[in-house]
């Protein structure tokens, strides 16, 4: 078990380095001099320019810059902005917003997705199944910003069921509607995966055995069929948590939530490289860790899976 965890962590290292280097190189390739951008059109004295470039390692080749950045990261230092603000400070308040939003969306897709999936899976080929399949396909097809604006106008503005925008009402009220919008795509995939997987497993021999033993329907479905059906669902939920953290740019924008996505989006346009790299690095770390957790969950769900 621990050897497996160690091996997986070691495998994650090259992926982590590759992804961060890629982001670093892409941000590095952004046009325009970030130091010159500080002063707008005014000229900067040569010695000031040089001092600042030196301070932010901008005179080094890309790989050396990246190496210095990584070295700082290992010591828990996300670096600082070109105006001297610490990146970790700029992001700290925003992580809470993004995390609250992502968790709301994730819980929503987990709970409702599983419920709909089990409902449809148990009634395959009947009305419930058709309804769930049709409804989820529709949800996948409508782009999230269309869904967001429609929900905001109808549920927020006209019917006043939820707050329209902002974080004034705190968690959970302010995050319910954005969470549902953000989680709608995942909800559809969770429901469909659960439905297909459960319907397939209900035909398996071990389900027939469990039925023959005289176990109750609830136990057969809940403990035998469903638990085994959850592996693809858990895989999806794991991968999706990472993308919920990073993919909330649109939802945060529509509902005016000051989260990580908005910050990074603005920073890209302001050419604040350190902020972009810092935030994306943390996002990639979360993504890799959640994937490792998911792999460890497999053994719990399906006892046949062993880690060596």
């Amino acid at each position: 078990m621990w050897r497996y965890v160690l091996r997986r962590l070691l495998q994650a290292v090259p992926v982590f380095i590759g992804t961060t280097l890629l982001i670093y190189a892409m941000v590095f390739a952004l046009p325009g001099d970030p130091i010159q951008a500080l002063a707008g059109d005014k000229p900067i004295p040569e010695n000031v320019l040089q001092t600042l470039r030196e301070r932010y390692n901008l005179n080094d080749p890309l790989l050396v810059q990246y190496g210095k950045y990584m070295w700082g990261l290992l010591q828990g230092n996300l670096g600082e902005n070109y105006t001297g603000q610490k990146v970790s400070e700029m992001l700290s308040g925003r992580w809470t917003v993004t995390a609250q939003l992502a968790v709301t969306a994730w819980l929503f897709e987990l709970a409702l997705g599983l419920l709909l999936g089990v409902w449809a899976g148990l009634r395959r080929g009947r009305l419930a199944d058709t309804l769930v399949l049709g409804g989820t396909t529709l949800l996948i097809a409508v782009p999230v910003f269309v869904l967001g604006y429609t929900a905001q106008i109808l549920l927020g503005l006209h019917w006043k069921v939820f707050p329209t925008a902002g974080t004034d009402d705190g968690w959970p009220m302010s995050y319910l509607l954005p969470g549902m919008v953000l989680g709608s795509l995942g909800l559809s995939y969770v429901a469909r995966l659960t439905r297909t997987s459960l319907a397939e497993n209900l035909r398996a021999d071990y389900v027939r055995t469990a039925n023959a033993k005289g176990l109750s329907r609830a136990r057969v479905v809940g403990r035998h069929a469903l638990r085994n059906s959850l592996i693809p669902v858990v895989t999806y939920l794991g991968v999706d948590f990472g993308s919920l953290m990073g993919g909330a740019v649109v939802t945060e924008g529509i509902f005016n939530l000051p989260g990580i996505g908005q910050q990074v989006f603005q920073s890209i346009q302001l050419k604040e490289g350190p902020v972009v790299v810092g935030a994306v690095t943390v996002l990639v770390l979360i993504f890799l860790l959640v994937n490792l957790l998911v792999d460890l969950l497999y053994g719990f769900l399906d006892p046949r899976i062993r880690y060596e």
Binding site: P14, V15, G18, T19, L22, I23, M26, V27, A29, L30, P31, R124, G125, R126, T137, L138, I140, A141, V142, P143, V144, F145, V146, Y149, T150, I153, L157, T196, E200, L202, R203, V207, R208, N211, G214, L215, S216, R217, V220, G242, S243, G246, G247, V249, V250, G253, G261, V264, F265, I268, Q269, K271, V276, V280, L283, V284, F287, L288
Partner: protein, 314 residues
């Protein structure tokens, strides 16, 4: 407690019984009569109304993209009258007018081309990458496979919207070409993973061993034996992918980092009108409905093809 599982309604049991036999034949490499997997899938597809509904709608959008003049006599920004901006739908302007007083219907019609072009082009490029590198990596394994798998992991971990924004801000102009490039760069990973998995699961099959014993070259084994048997799931994902790419492209347009003003696309229209949605909902409804219906058609097409190709999922 009895199980009610075998009670699948309707004519499906007969079909389900016939298909695996044909599929098994196809997997075994036989072409007895016309009972290949693809023939069976086509026969099955023809009977589905979902398939025809999406195919007809997509054909309509494709004609709209190819010859917009069939649908509207107006050019993209022709006959705009700022005095009649943001009008609701009427006889003169079926979809109303936009913020600059241009005919919204003409805009929506012209918006089909970039949207569809990018969706299809990105998927074709990603499909080609998946086909070549997925095949080589899966077939030869070893260092090449490890390399391809790791590079795929690296790109798979990138957040889509943020990654695309970083690249697009670096491009001086975002035309259809640049958008295609960016979406390929961030979207090629799904198909190659599936292709590689398929090739690995097929490459040690008996019929491949048999072909190798008979002295077939690697190229021939890959092209004639592995490819046809590994292709089906990749084609399904490719169909679904067109819809996802279109939605992704619209999202980037909507955020303002995708296609830029003189161009038209549904996502861009929604971007330009987003501050007026509340008072003028028609600005949201028409492009959104066409966009969603197009994505939906690709998704349903993909679902129908999957069901036809894989009778097990029924």
């Amino acid at each position: 407690m009895k199980t009610d599982e075998p009670g699948v309604p309707g004519p499906e049991p007969a079909v389900a019984a016939a298909e695996p036999a044909a599929a098994a034949l196809a997997v075994a490499g036989g072409e007895i009569g016309r009972a290949s997997l693809w023939d069976d899938a086509w026969r099955d597809l023809r009977r589905r109304w979902v398939f025809w509904a999406s195919a007809v709608f997509l054909a309509l959008v494709a004609v709209m993209a190819a010859v917009p003049r069939l649908f509207t006599s107006k050019g993209v920004n022709e006959g705009c009258d700022p005095n009649s901006a943001k009008l609701g739908p009427s006889g003169g302007h079926w979809f109303g007018t936009d913020l600059a007083g241009c005919d919204y219907y003409a805009h929506v019609v012209h918006g089909a081309r970039p949207t569809l072009l990018i969706g299809v082009a990105v998927t074709l490029f990603a499909f080609a990458i998946a086909l070549v590198f997925g095949m080589l990596a899966g077939y030869y394994g070893g260092l090449l496979d490890a390399l391809v798998a790791r590079i795929t992991d690296v790109f798979f971990g990138l957040p889509f919207v943020l990654g695309a924004t970083v690249i697009l801000v670096a491009f001086p102009s975002h035309g259809v070409g640049a958008m295609t490039l960016v979406l390929v760069l961030l979207g090629w990973t799904t198909m190659i993973r599936i292709m590689r998995g398929q090739v690995i699961s097929v490459r040690d099959a008996d019929y491949v061993q048999a072909a190798r014993l008979l002295g077939a070259s690697d190229a021939r084994i890959m092209a004639r034996h592995i490819l046809p048997n590994a292709l089906a799931p990749v084609i399904v994902v490719a169909t679904l992918n067109v819809g996802n790419v279109i939605a992704g492209e619209a999202t980037l347009d909507f955020l303002g980092v995708g296609l830029q003003y003189p161009q038209v696309s549904w996502g861009l229209q929604l971007n330009q009108a987003k501050d007026a949605f509340v008072d003028h909902p028609h600005l949201l409804v028409f492009p959104a409905v066409l966009l969603s219906a197009t994505v939906l058609s690709f998704l349903m097409l993909g679902d129908a093809v999957r069901d036809a190709l894989d009778p097990k999922l029924r």
